[in-house]
């Protein structure tokens, strides 16, 4: 039984410790801290039983008694893998920062302090089960990146970062008001105001005001990702931020927004979700197309990745808003994949940047001639970015497209799939213009340094591992995703909820509880409480050759004669 607070505050502790030790050793302290946190999170993930209760490793204490705000953390199917992605991401970027001049800069202490605080804040946002705690960490998570970019960024960084911070805070401050309003409105007269997510889900927010509340939450999350109309801060923010920091910022922080949708906006405001579903879907699809076209025409390598992230997050939002378990589980899987792919991609751009001095694709070309190992690793990352079938990104995208096809509308899935083709174009264009063709005018191609290749190998290995067995990520998310989207799906139309249940017999038990909560206000019965009955009979583990008799689905005895199959 591990105490989640240890995982949460470990990075912050190491951040402070880093301040005390002499500045030469700060970076190694930070690296040790990051690896320890990573180890702890891996242990927690392994310890999570998929068929166990919805909330595990719960730690619960009062934070602000007067307001009814509790300090409550828990590991659920939704946030487990994202927390692991966060620890991997921060470990990756801290090790990367430790190796670059950023790490030995005379103000290295600041770098690792801010990264540590940011990690704690991100983990806090992911693990929080209390609405106000989530909003507090959601806001806090941005501030370290402000300091990192203002001090260590490049170009005219201060106005760029201030624009980024204020832009994202517009959303999250609106969310603060919405969070409080949700807590307050959900309290039946006389009862104590409570911001616990499960509690509010049971109490049910009055349907009248769910609309604007969902709008506030959606605004905060869409600005954070970012998505099409409100991505003004993306270009300057990404250009100004130092690359090690940008890798984790782009890979991890946008996923907290996705988690926000799944854990808070949809389950707490089912009616609001149902009403505004189409607005978010349209935004997502337009983001995919718009960002893809921009990504395939811009000449700055960093901007290609920036806009590709917008497009990928457009897909993830599609999956989330399809209000179907496979769509939501696909979105979660895609979040993890996109995170890992982005870590590798930004490191590759950094390596290319070192060799060209600038990140302009027109100066690059022919990097592969002297750097075969780097080229192979970069190709695998490129395949992950463009979601080539075979990588887990494809599985994610397949589930999202299926969820959208059946949950939202076939036309939407078809338009979104244009994004898949465009993704192939911009990902390959980035790879070819940098590594293939003749040696570019400015670039001096040389093989990646040993540490660079070793570090780049980490995301590549993760991509391959996920590609071979994406099941563990999807399985964990399945029950939790069903629970969170069920009430919203029921709000859209009752028969959708029925066919979700039909689709996934294993969600039967969890669904009864959620079914009662789906009835809008004040339903009793804890949705979280009833753990899902044993998951689907995970067959197929047997390696032996079993001729499956298609009609009955049972393995058939070798000798038995079966009709249908050939004689």
């Amino acid at each position: 039984m591990y105490h989640l607070s240890v995982l949460l505050w470990l990075p912050a502790a190491f951040a402070v410790l880093g301040l005390l030790v002499p500045s030469r050793t700060t970076r190694w302290v930070a690296v040790v801290g990051a690896l320890l946190t990573l180890a702890l999170s891996v242990v927690l993930v392994l310890d999570f039983e998929a068929t166990g209760p919805a909330l595990q490793h719960v730690t619960d204490a009062t934070w602000i008694s007067a307001l009814g705000v509790r300090y409550e953390l828990a590991l659920t199917g939704l946030n487990m893998w994202l927390a692991l992605l966060a620890t991997v991401g921060f470990a990756f970027s801290i090790v990367w920062a430790a190796m670059t001049p950023l790490g030995v800069d005379r103000r290295a202490k600041h770098v690792f302090f801010h990264l540590g605080i940011a990690q704690s804040a991100v983990l806090g946002a992911l693990l929080a089960q209390d609405l106000i705690l989530f909003v507090a960490f959601f806001d806090l998570m941005l501030i370290p990146f402000f300091f990192l970019t203002a001090q260590f960024g490049n170009g005219d960084r201060v106005p760029a970062t201030i624009k980024m911070i204020v832009y994202t805070l517009v959303g999250s401050l609106l969310m603060l008001v919405a969070a409080i309003a949700v807590g307050v409105l959900a309290t039946p007269p006389g009862a104590e105001v409570s911001y616990n997510i499960q509690e509010i889900a049971q109490r049910g927010v009055p349907e009248g005001s769910q609309g604007w509340l969902f709008a506030c939450f959606a605004a905060a999350f869409l600005v954070k990702m970012p998505q099409f109309p409100i991505h003004g801060w993306l270009a300057d923010g990404y250009k100004a931020m130092p690359l090690p920091v940008l890798a984790v910022f782009s890979g991890v922080l946008s996923k907290v927004a996705v988690y926000g949708f799944l854990q808070i906006a949809i389950p707490l405001l089912p009616q609001g979700t149902a009403d505004l579903r189409w607005v978010v879907l349209i935004i997502a699809v337009v983001s995919i197309l718009y960002a893809s076209t921009v990504a395939l025409t811009t000449f700055n390598a960093r901007m290609v990745l920036a806009y590709s992230s917008v497009a990928q997050l457009g897909f993830i939002t599609l999956g989330v808003m399809s209000l179907r378990p496979d769509g939501a589980a696909g979105a979660l899987l895609q979040s993890v994949n996109h995170g890992v792919a982005v870590f590798g991609a930004f490191l590759a751009v950094a390596i290319l940047g070192h060799r060209t001095g600038s990140e302009d694709l027109r100066d690059m070309g022919g990097a592969a001639t002297k750097a075969p190992v780097f080229a192979v690793l970069f190709v695998v990352v490129t395949y992950a970015v463009l979601a080539m079938p075979g990588t887990a990104n494809f599985v994610g995208e397949f589930l999202i497209l299926r969820g959208t096809w059946e949950g939202s509308a076939p036309a939407l899935a078809i338009v979104a799939s244009i994004g898949v083709a465009l993704a192939a174009v911009y990902a390959l264009r980035l790879f070819i213009r940098s590594s293939h063709n003749r040696v570019g005018p400015v670039i001096q191609p040389r093989e990646g340094a040993r540490w660079e290749l070793a570090l780049l190998a980490v995301p590549v290995l993760l991509i391959i591992a996920l590609a071979v067995h994406p099941q563990q990520t999807v399985e964990a998310a399945d029950q939790a995703a069903t629970r969170s989207v069920l009430s919203a799906a029921a709000a859209v139309s009752p028969d959708r909820a029925r066919d979700i249940l039909a689709d996934d017999p294993s969600a039967q038990a969890a669904a009864e509880a959620a079914q009662s909560a789906a009835g809008g206000t004040g339903a009793a019965g804890g949705a979280g409480g009833a753990g899902a009955a044993g998951g689907a009979d995970a067959s197929g583990a047997a390696g032996a050759e079993t001729a499956i008799d298609p009609a009955t689905g049972q393995p058939v005895d070798q000798t038995a004669q079966t009709e249908g199959a050939g004689r």
Partner: protein, 533 residues
């Protein structure tokens, strides 16, 4: 004769209750006398120490009287946790101001004795103002705290700006208090009562809700108090006075006056006039909204730090007013919590501004450029205070803002909460710009402070106004050249200021992460306000 004597025996005064107020007055007298001594040591160090002792004693006594319930001076002053928290707040602000004044030019110019005496008397005025339960004592408290501040603002007699700020504060301040007085007169006319309980009863029974005299009176009182708390349309004196006055005085004004004004607001509106809240609540809400927008927007383009803090205090006053508007237990708790948080954050900010001003000679934005490298402790303190004022989580500012927004959302003022949030979005821009300047180290802006230590630094005004030929005659003792360039010796900041900055910085974070204890204090303060559900 006997009857006369019998009738004229001494009134029964509850000395214990009054002790915290009397401590301040006694302190003022003692400091005044010690100030007369010839020796520099007596004046330079003994006087500040004594005034700190006076403040500390008054805080101690206030805490001692914490659980008392009742009234003093036959109903003139209230003795309840609300008043006591006011005294404590003022005491803390006073100590901070005194610490900032050590080594500053203002006390040297205005003779240490009088300077500190004025401060103590102003504090006494505030102590009276927060406890006042009678129109007379309220008006007396207000004037007792304002007049010493006029003088303090004008202490640096050789700096034209200080005099100007003093003059402006006096004239506009008097207009404000005259309006307040006229309001009190009308209320007195309408109810025939002077003490709050009487007024509350009269308003309740005789249905004075729509009596023209009463309404006009309440309106004028709102103007008077809003002026004192520097709420929007009546805030125009704040930026000029804050920038002109010497920084320690500005610090005292920004923190202590806000505590006094807000608590008086609470007591007057949530106790005496709670009956007519239907009329004044929406008006106050609109005023608060205007304050938030004007304060934040005004602060955007500021280059002088003190002027920026002035506009930010206008905005913060707007946030605090929300608690009064809501007129519920939660509202009172939210406002008192916010005020205390605001005091801590502003003290931290002014400590660093004062230190930077002593080093560079001016309070322009460039004075704190690259502070992160020169004075890391100051830089951290200023950063924490800026982030706290902006309302970033893990600082007491976030919790305070959270409480205000919840109290607003709880009572149907959700639109006000949205205005508050939009205002704080704008505030992030200028707070973060200050923080970026502190930590950024672009070389050209950092004046090379090390080189100028010890020499006289010509004060470079941010926007020097072309002095007219008429008054260029040089006055003996002034540095030649420039119409009134005062002499500023750039010397390293004294230890007390750094300690103050660090302590208040730490308090911002500690209270932000563990707000529990402060919450309990605020809870029993709210119980003291009867009549609210």
């Amino acid at each position: 004769m006997i009857a006369l004597t019998a009738a004229a025996q001494a009134p029964d005064i509850d000395w214990a209750g009054l002790s915290s107020l009397l401590a301040l007055f006694a302190g003022a007298v003692v400091v005044l006398l010690v100030g007369l001594l010839r020796s520099r040591f007596a004046r330079e160090t003994l006087v500040p120490v004594l005034s700190i002792v006076a403040f500390a004693v008054s805080i101690g006594l206030a805490i001692w009287q914490w659980d008392e319930e009742g009234s003093l001076m036959s109903g003139a002053l209230a003795l309840d946790p609300l008043a006591m928290i006011g005294v404590v707040g003022v005491g803390v602000a006073g100590i901070a101001a005194v610490l900032l004044s050590i080594g500053a030019t203002a006390p040297r110019e205005a003779a240490h004795g009088e300077y500190h005496a004025m401060m103590l008397i102003a504090a006494a005025g505030m102590a009276m103002f927060v406890g006042a339960q009678n129109l007379i004592t309220t008006f007396l408290g207000l004037e007792l705290l304002s007049i010493p501040l006029y003088i303090l603002a004008a202490t640096e007699l050789h700096r034209r700006r200080s005099l100007e700020s003093g003059m402006k504060y006096l004239i506009v301040g008097s207009v404000g208090s005259a309006t307040l007085l006229y309001g009190f007169a009308l209320i007195f006319g309408a109810t025939g009562q002077l003490d709050y309980a009487g007024i509350a009863a009269a308003v309740g029974t005789e249905g004075l809700r729509d009596d023209p005299l009463m309404l006009a009176g309440v309106a004028l009182v709102i103007v008077g108090l809003a002026f004192k708390a520097s709420v929007a349309p009546f805030h125009q004196w704040t930026p000029d006075v804050y920038e002109g006055a010497p920084t320690p005085v500005t610090a005292f004004m920004a923190t202590a006056t806000k505590v006094a004004a807000l608590i008086a607001f609470l007591r007057l509106f949530d106790v005496a006039l709670v009956g007519t809240s239907g009329t004044w609540a929406p008006a106050l809400a609109v005023l608060a909204a205007i304050a938030m927008i004007v304060g934040n927007v005004g602060a955007l383009g500021q280059s002088s730090l003190k002027r920026l803090m002035a506009f930010s205090s206008v905005a913060q006053a707007g946030y605090m007013l929300v608690g009064v508007v809501v007129a519920t237990q939660l509202g009172v708790q939210a406002t008192v919590f916010y005020v205390l948080a605001y005091v801590v954050m502003t003290v931290a900010a002014f400590a660093v501004i004062e230190a930077a001003e002593r080093e560079t000679g001016h309070d322009g934005a460039s004075s704190i450029a690259g502070l992160g490298r020169r004075r890391p402790l100051h830089a951290i303190a200023l950063t924490l205070s800026m982030l706290g004022l902006a309302g970033v989580p893990a600082t007491v500012g976030f919790i305070a803002k959270l409480r205000i927004v919840q109290s607003a959302a709880d009572n149907g003022y959700t639109w006000l909460a949205i205005v508050l949030v939009v205002g704080s979005m704008i505030s992030f821009v200028y707070y973060l710009r200050v923080v970026a300047r502190v930590w950024g180290d672009d070389p050209e802006t950092t004046t090379d402070v090390a080189a100028t230590r010890g020499q006289t630094v010509a004060v470079e005004e941010p926007e020097a106004i072309p002095a007219r030929a008429g008054d260029a005659a040089s006055v003996p003792g002034l540095v030649p050249g420039g119409n009134d360039q005062p002499v500023v010796v750039a010397d390293a900041p004294r230890l007390p200021i750094t300690v103050l900055a660090v302590v208040s910085g730490a308090a911002i974070v500690v209270l932000g992460v563990i707000p529990g204890p402060l919450m309990n204090v605020v809870e029993d303060v709210a119980r003291a306000v009867p009549g609210l559900f």
